[in-house]
């Protein structure tokens, strides 16, 4: 019996090391692609006189601190006004959000607020309600704390001229970088995730991911896929996989940049990353087999998609792997499966999974952005790594319980920190 347990423990250690190396290679290839590979052109260079009709959604739950800023910037956008409507969705707010939205609606006819005070709360159900109010072709989504530049709507919309594009994702750039250690970590983590990871996946024609904000999707096609799943905590990730399963593509637009407010408090970040992990892992449990057996997806996309599906499960796998290594050590198993595996797990884990975009991706991204002095922050990511590992693992466990018990999920909004208009 003891031998059987040892075999399982050793087998798991080998499994963890193998999958860690697979992810390490994947992210290393992305980094190499951004340095040496051919960079694909994005469609935003297209000049066009016939833009599609667009509705912009901003889901808002108690967003009085930020609502004014995002609306002021959206009405300044250079999109043809006869093809644009803006629907801020007041989702059960109890602060001054409704008053702010109504004052903007009175001033700008293109702003048509949707006030939701009954029924289910959450971004997915709010977007479904919003889509029922418009017949426009393209739906764009911004979070309430975002600061969209003047030309961003055209840059996103023009991409849909390519008939195979189902959704577009732009780049999110934190604006409150200098606040504290957390915001500085999130800043470089975002840089790695977008500047290198997403762009490389776009270059290599893999699975670019729709992130639910600074982006858009086709209304009719999404409605045909059943709209957004009310139970999903990451409706964006679910949409990405639903679109690929239906033969559509998602494109990433690195030059379509928009400021966001990064979480400034660790508990807020903990809730955010737990929700992301829980939602992403729900998608993993629900879509893995469908994705593997789908005949509309190219093999390279399938491999990348499977690795993407499992990416929020990996911190849990690693965490168990570390406990596994300790168990092997105390069971007196020396050799390659004790100290060696613990060290390799630690090193591979730190360098590959610190914040989901490995150190070399982040390092390159910071370099490409020309912000080279913040490279000095890289070693500090190790603290973020352990923080993320714990809360992502928590999200994984919660997703597992959600899927196996059918437990209902409750949407939790990320707290805002803005004190004055930037």
């Amino acid at each position: 019996m003891e031998v059987d347990i040892l075999v399982i423990l050793k087998g798991y250690a080998v499994f963890v090391i193998v999958v860690s190396v697979i992810y390490l290679v994947r992210h290393f290839l992305f980094t190499l692609n951004r340095v040496f590979g051919e960079q694909k052109m994005y469609y935003q260079d297209i000049m066009e006189s016939d833009y599609p009709s667009v509705t912009v959604f901003i889901s808002m739950h108690n967003e009085e601190k930020v609502a004014k800023n995002v609306l002021e910037l959206l009405v300044k956008c250079d999109y043809p006004q006869d093809k644009l409507s803006i629907i801020p969705i007041n989702d059960h707010s109890s602060d001054r959000t409704q008053e702010i939205l109504d004052s903007f609606a009175a001033k700008y006819p293109i702003i048509k607020p949707l006030h939701r005070s009954s029924g289910e709360r959450g971004k997915a159900v709010a977007l479904n309600d919003g889509m029922a109010l418009t017949d426009h072709e393209i739906m764009m989504v911004f979070d309430a704390d975002y600061l969209p530049p003047k030309g961003i709507l055209k840059d996103i919309a023009v991409c849909f001229i390519n008939p195979e594009v189902g959704a577009v994702m732009g780049r999110v750039v934190p604006i409150n970088v200098s606040t504290n250690l957390l915001t500085r970590m999130l800043d470089i983590e975002r840089a790695g995730g977008y500047q290198v990871d997403q762009q490389a996946r776009y270059n290599m024609r893999l699975i670019a991911q729709y992130g639910g904000t600074v982006g858009g999707f086709r209304r009719k096609e999404v409605l045909a896929l059943g709209g957004f799943n009310h139970k999903s905590l990451t409706e964006d990730t679910e949409l990405t996989f639903k679109l690929y399963l239906d033969g559509w593509k998602v494109v990433y637009a690195n030059r379509v940049e928009c400021y966001e407010e990064a979480p400034e408090a660790w508990p807020v970040r903990a809730r955010q990353i737990t929700r992301w992990s829980r939602g992403h892992n729900q998608v993993m449990f629900n879509y893995f087999w469908k994705f593997v057996f789908c005949d509309k997806i190219a093999f390279r996309e399938k491999v990348d998609g499977v690795l993407l599906l499992f990416i929020y499960a990996m911190p849990f796998v690693l965490l168990v792997g570390m406990a596994n290594s300790l168990a092997l050590f105390f069971l007196g198993e020396s050799g390659i499966f004790t100290s060696a595996s613990l060290i390799s797990l630690f090193l591979v884990g730190c360098s590959s999974f610190g914040n989901y975009a490995p150190f070399y991706e982040i390092g390159l991204a910071v370099f490409l952005d020309g912000a080279t002095r913040r490279l000095r922050l890289l070693p500090l990511l190790i603290f973020n790594f352990f923080f993320n590992m714990f809360y992502t693992s928590k999200g994984f466990v919660e997703a597992f319980i959600d899927v196996t018990t059918g437990r209902a999920t409750i949407w939790q909004k990320t707290e805002r920190f803005r004190k004055a208009a930037p």
């Binding site: 935003q44 297209i46 000049m47 055209k154 195979e164 080279t372 002095r373 500090l380």
Partner: protein, 316 residues
């Protein structure tokens, strides 16, 4: 000894974090990444920006008909003239504001920008950094543009010109042969010998479903397609018969079109584009021909709108 090892170990461990902690405290690189919040896609961006900067500076200075030092993006000598016609072989080092027409009659090198409120002509063999023109613009042969040209009228370009980064006209932009370019904008941009066969009388009912070709796609006979196309390989049209594509064409490979072709939408290639006997877009509208690596325009090509390549652009 073990204490020494421990101290060295801890020191080396801490050392890795020292630069990061220093950056956290000193905040040398703690600003947000720059995003131009006012960026708007505009083919006349260079020209309009320069016009605005120069006219503001001149207005502020109150100077007229002379050379004066003014603050533009940096301090510059500005020559203000009325209608101006000259032959200067040596290079000129001042910014020019010409309130009338400009006629550069001999080969001349202008190392600074010019804003011409009338029309402008540049003789064969001239060189210029950049020029904004409110009227029409005519370039002779062998003209070298370092940065950009912007006209609110029509632009006529002689043979063997290097067109710099951008040429934009509100009216027609007519290209000579053997010209190099990166970005062109006009209503329309055309090479010599173009004859339109556009017949918009046939009602077009564009299909919702696009044509998706997994490999290469070659058209060798006349056909009308009322749909967008996505082609994973190369796209070739080689026929003298009429081909019409009422939609946009997105190609992962290269595009080679030689025939009698109308494409009412955009042409986008991640590789190269070679066009002969093609009309892209429709009068009054804006469509684009975009290629990652190369665009070669042979005779009888017209594009209603925009042409851009990250690589080499050439007329033949």
């Amino acid at each position: 000894m073990i204490i020494v090892y421990c101290v060295v170990f801890i020191a080396l461990l801490v050392l890795a974090f020292v630069p990061g902690v220093r950056e956290l405290n000193e905040r040398e690189d703690a600003g947000e990444l720059y995003i131009n919040m006012d960026y708007s896609k505009d083919p006349h961006f260079f020209g309009d920006s320069f016009r605005r900067i120069l006219t503001d500076a001149v207005e502020k200075s109150g100077v007229d008909q002379t050379i004066s030092e003014m603050k533009l993006s940096r301090k510059e000598d500005v020559l203000i003239t009325g209608t101006y016609s000259y032959v200067v072989v040596n290079s000129e080092q001042h910014v020019l504001l010409c309130r009338g027409n400009l006629d550069i009659e001999g080969p001349n090198t202008r190392n600074k920008e010019a804003y011409v409120m009338g029309s402008a002509k540049m003789a064969d063999g001239s060189a210029i950094t950049a020029m904004a023109v409110d009227g029409n613009l005519k370039l002779g042969k062998d003209v070298n543009v370092v940065r950009w040209l912007d006209s609110r009228g029509e632009v006529s370009i002689g043979d063997n010109c290097d067109l710099g980064v951008s040429v934009a006209g509100n009216g027609k932009v007519l290209l000579g042969k053997d010209c190099k370019f990166m970005r062109l904008f006009g209503s329309p941009v055309s090479t010599r010998g173009f004859v339109s066969h556009m017949d918009l009388s046939r009602p077009v009912k564009k299909q919702q479903k696009y044509k998706h070709i997994l490999g290469n796609f070659k058209i060798t006979r006349g056909i009308i397609l009322d749909q967008d196309m996505k082609i994973e390989g190369d796209f070739v049209i080689l026929t003298e018969e009429r081909v019409e594509i009422h939609g946009s064409v997105f190609v992962e490979g290269s595009v080679r079109i030689d025939g009698n072709v109308l494409i009412t939408g955009n042409v986008f290639s991640q590789q190269t584009v070679h066009l002969r006997g093609v009309e892209v877009g429709e009068p009054g509208g804006i469509k684009s021909v975009i290629s990652k690596k190369e665009i070669v325009l042979f005779p009888d090509v017209v594009v209603h709108g925009y042409i851009l390549t990250d690589g080499r652009g050439l007329t033949v």
